[in-house]
Structure formats: structure tokens, C-alpha cells
Amino acid sequence: MATVAEDSPTRRRRRRLAAVGFLTPAMVLVVAFYLIPAVLTLILSLTDLSSANFTEPWNFIGLDNYRRLFGDAFFPKILKNTLFYVFVTLGLFNVGLALVLALLTTSIPRRAGFFFRMLWLLPRITPSVVYVMMWVRMAQQPPFGIFNQLAGPFGLEPENWLFETPWLFVILTNGFVGASFGMIIFTSALESIPRDVITAARVDGASGWRLIRDMKIPLIKWPLLFVATYQTMSLLTSFEYILLLTEGGPGLFTTEVWALTSYKRALGTYFGNNQWGYGAAWGFVLVVIGFLFSLLYVKIFRFNQLVKEPLIE
């Protein structure tokens, strides 16, 4: 142990050099693809840069983009859509159904539970383009739509359900991917509850619903909180499935959410040109929310427990 305790300045310097060496590749990428882009988003949002004037020097216009954003005729609609989308998907699927699936698959025999969890993982590992295609075909008008074929005998008028009930399909499509994340986390949390704790409660007469409400859920409250906050952020910023499914339509801004607006304004050719500056203003609001959320994680998830000191040198 003598060698370990001796911590000469030379050794300390060598160790520091080693750390720098090991971390350099990661740091380069973090700076190039997180730090610089985050700052650049702010800078861009203060310019009127678009594909119409991008050969000229950047023209700074102060907070005009933000004024325009909050004054946009569709701003209330987009805000309402975003909140609706995030919290309904989160409540029904990413946390709600995820919890139900975890409780159910842990209460049946192990192999059967594993089988259902694996099926639920399928949407997540299916390429988004293929996955969305499946939902489009399910929703489509007759004679192709699968939903119409299955519901027809029950007297339901055949429709293109993606146009009739776009929100239903936006939420289903995202929810079927989102639920598996919480399901897996909750499952491992539930499985780590000691058997005798449950048995003792059973002996005391607790059963079914009471066991879940008074024992299991309180015992997994940290995973619950983690999944809820993490998935709020995911839903708020990801828009890939909506882009593929409805592109924010049908019609004007029907299912358009905040992140999609940012993307379409800046990188889509939807409005005739790429309005990088204006899109960046929409994006930067999300960057700020993301930053606040990530501080929240570090604070509430008892971060210090994760930081064990290395044992040697």
C-alpha cells in the first residue's frame, strides 16, 4: 500500500496527463457537437440568416425573431399542441402504460413476462420509417386500411383515420415506442424489491390493488420520477415520428409541435426558404428548457452517490 499512499507531484502530473489523453476524443466531440451548437443556436437566433441572404455577412436583428415567434398567429395553437402531445403521451403511455406493463409482466411467470416485454421492445428497434408506415397502413381508407377492415363488422363508418383522428395516431405512434423505456426501468426496479417484503404484506392481508398502491409504487418512486422527467424532455424535443406521420398536418398546424416548427422553419423547404435565424429562435427556447431539465436531474437524482472516488493512485 505504501506505493499507493505516496502521491508525489510527478505522479499527480502523470495521472492528470493520462486523464487528458483518455478524455480528449470525447471532449472534442462534446465541444464540436454540443457546446458550439448550443452557443451557435443562440447567436443564429439573433440574426435574420436565411437561404435568401446567406452569402452576405450575418445581419444581427436583436430580439426580433423572438418577437415574431411570440406574435405568430399560430403560436397559441403550437403551444397548446405541444403541451397536449407531451402530457397526454407521457401520462397514458410513457409513464402510465409503462407502469401497467411492468406490473403485469412481473406478476406472471418470468418467461412469459420476458416474452411480452420483448414484443413491446419491437417498435423501439424498428426503423422509424418502417414503423410509421405500419401505422399509416393501419389507419388508411378502405379498401386498404387494416383498422377499417377489423372495425367494419362493428358498424363503424370506414374513413382514413389519420385524417379523421390525427392526434390519436400521433399519440399511439409515439406512445408505442415510448412505453418500452419506462417499462424496462420499472421492471428492473420492481424485480429488485425483496421477495419477503411482498410476502410479509401478503401475509398481513394486503392483496392485488392495495399491494400495488401502498407497497410497490411507493418503493419505485425514484424510477417513476426519473422516467417522468426524462421522457418529458424526450417528448418535448423529438419530432421524428410526427414528421414522418403527419408532417404537422393534416391542414394547418393540426399536429404541429414546438420542435417540429423549429425544424421545418430552419431546415425544411416548407415556407419557400430556410429561415435558419427564425428556426433557431424556436430551437433556443428548447435548448434553455433542456438545460434547466438537466440541472434538475443532477440535483434530484442524488448525484453525489454516483461519484465514487477511484481506488488506486
Partner: protein, 295 residues
């Protein structure tokens, strides 16, 4: 409920049965989606889930939808998908095994900062940085020599962006794997005068190979499936990957030839389903260890 089965018996057996019923119903959309993909890719047309001929009679099984395999149009995109996915596996593997080792096992000033940054980045979703990354890629593309390989509209550039997006998860997972390796051998090697790099390469790395393998499969899947980033940062068919190719195929003809599109979709799913069947348990573990959340 019937005959001699007592009240106690009923109570035990009813719970699981309801559980199975709910679970069974819940997976119906997933199974129906896959069933459609399979049926459609081998038939002329479909009516709901029923395969039909062109004039709508039941039947119509065919292999014609798979003709794209022989005319070769799909191979450029397949090659690009493979390059992007493998590039990601190599990139994420190298960067996270190096970085994860440092934050797990080297004591240095600022270690706590680096650790919380990793956690912070995990929460910080990159989708919202796409606009600015577009400018970073264009700047990279303008650098001499390497610019041709890592700029905007290159396979390398797209792979590089995706490596960065996967990095928080990779660092975090590898840190966890390194945390579980015993200190004794490494300590002995260091006392014998091995450099930190040699200890990492010869002693520690072999012990985290199973973890690295799992991370690699996970990374391959996410690289192979990637749509948004290749779609945003590539122009035209030369550098587009399979998902972008498929997306263009859907929009190419109106009405879409869904049966051919389904075949290309299934073609793209083959390696994913292969990994899925081979590595189920490992994949489940990765998804719970990391904090990667699609939506």
C-alpha cells in the same frame, strides 16, 4: 368458480388471467403492423391484412416486390447504411471506452465536473441542435484535406454527428462496466511500471468486452435505423442510407406502391431482427442501463 374450486383458488388464478388478457390485447397493434409488412411484401395488393390480386380477389402471392434485390438500386443505400452504422460502432466504441475508463478509474481534478457533464448531456437532447450542427458540418466540410470526408453531405459527417449523439449513453454505460472490474490486477500492473494506457489496453479492456459488445450491437441498430440525421444532412441518393431511400420510395409514386415499399422495409429490418433474436437479454439490459429514450 366451478365445482370444488374454492374462493381462495379463484383469487389466485383470476389475477394472472386478466394480466395475460391485457398484455395480449396491448401487443395487437404491434403484431398487426408486422403481419401487414410480411403479407404485403409477398403479395400483389392487400385489403386490410388479406393478400389480393391486382383486381382485388384473395390470393396474389408473388416475389415480384423483391425484384429490387436484383436490379441493384438498393445497394448504394445499403452500403451507406452499413458504413454509417459500422462507423458509429467504431467511433462510439473507441471514444467511450477511452473516456469511460478515465471517469471511472482515474483520479483527477475536474472529474466530478466531467461526470456531471456526461449525465447532463444524457438529458440534453440533440434533436434541438440540428440547425446549428448543420453549420458546424458545413464548416468542417470547408477544412482542407479531411473536409471531403466529414463535412455536410458525406457519410463520414453523418456518422460523426451520430457518434456524438450516442456518446453520452456510451460514456455512461462504459463507465458502469469499468466500475465493476476488480482493481487488483490493474494495481499490480501499475506497480510493475506499466503505463496507464497499457494497463487499460492489456488488463482492463479485455474484462469489459461483453459490455462493449452489447454497446456495439445497440449502436449498430441505432445507426442502421437512423433517419432524421441522414435525411437532414445528405442531399441526393449518393450518400443517403436505407431509411432515407425508403422514405423517398414512398413519396416517389402516387399512389405509393405499398407492396414494393413493404418489401424494402422488410429487407431493411432483416439485420435488426437478427440481432434482436440473438441478443434479446443483452439489449433489454442496455436499454435499462442507459437513458436512451426515443420518445
Amino acid at each position: 368458480m366451478i365445482g370444488t374450486a374454492g374462493i381462495g383458488r379463484r383469487r389466485i388464478s383470476r389475477g394472472p388471467r386478466i394480466g395475460y388478457a391485457i398484455l395480449g390485447v396491448s401487443v395487437v397493434p404491434i403484431l398487426v403492423g408486422y403481419a401487414w409488412l410480411l403479407i404485403a411484401s409477398f403479395s400483389r395488393r392487400t385489403r386490410g391484412l388479406i393478400p389480393t390480386t391486382i383486381d382485388g380477389r384473395a390470393g396474389g402471392w408473388t416475389l415480384d416486390n423483391w425484384s429490387f434485390v436484383s436490379d441493384g438500386s438498393v445497394y448504394r443505400a445499403t452500403l451507406n447504411s452499413t458504413l454509417m452504422a459500422l462507423g458509429m460502432v467504431v467511433g462510439v466504441g473507441i471514444v467511450s471506452t477511452l473516456g469511460g475508463y478515465a471517469i471511472s478509474r482515474i483520479r483527477f481534478p475536474g472529474r466530478k465536473g466531467v461526470l456531471s457533464m456526461t449525465l447532463l448531456l444524457n438529458a440534453f437532447r440533440a434533436d434541438m441542435l440540428l440547425i446549428a450542427i448543420f453549420f458546424v458540418l458545413r464548416a468542417l466540410g470547408a477544412t482542407p484535406l479531411v473536409g471531403r470526408f466529414i463535412g455536410f453531405d458525406t457519410v463520414g459527417g453523418v456518422a460523426l454527428v451520430m457518434v456524438s449523439l450516442e456518446l453520452p449513453l456510451g460514456l455512461w454505460l462504459m463507465k458502469g462496466f469499468f466500475d465493476n472490474v476488480s482493481w487488483d490486477m490493474e494495481r499490480a500492473a501499475l506497480i510493475d511500471g506499466a503505463s496507464r494506457f497499457r494497463a487499460w489496453w492489456e488488463i482492463v479492456l479485455p474484462q469489459v468486452m461483453p459490455g462493449l459488445a452489447a454497446l456495439s450491437v445497440f449502436t449498430f441498430i441505432s445507426g442502421w435505423n437512423a433517419y432524421l440525421i441522414p435525411f437532414t444532412y445528405t442531399v441526393g441518393t449518393g450518400v443517403s442510407n436505407l431509411p432515407v431511400f425508403l422514405d423517398e420510395l414512398i413519396g416517389e409514386t402516387s399512389p405509393t406502391n405499398w407492396n414494393q415499399v413493404a418489401a424494402v422495409g422488410l429487407f431493411q429490418l432483416i439485420p435488426i431482427l437478427g440481432f434482436y433474436l440473438l441478443m434479446q437479454e443483452k439489449l433489454l439490459n442496455i436499454y435499462s442501463g442507459g437513458t436512451k429514450g426515443g420518445t
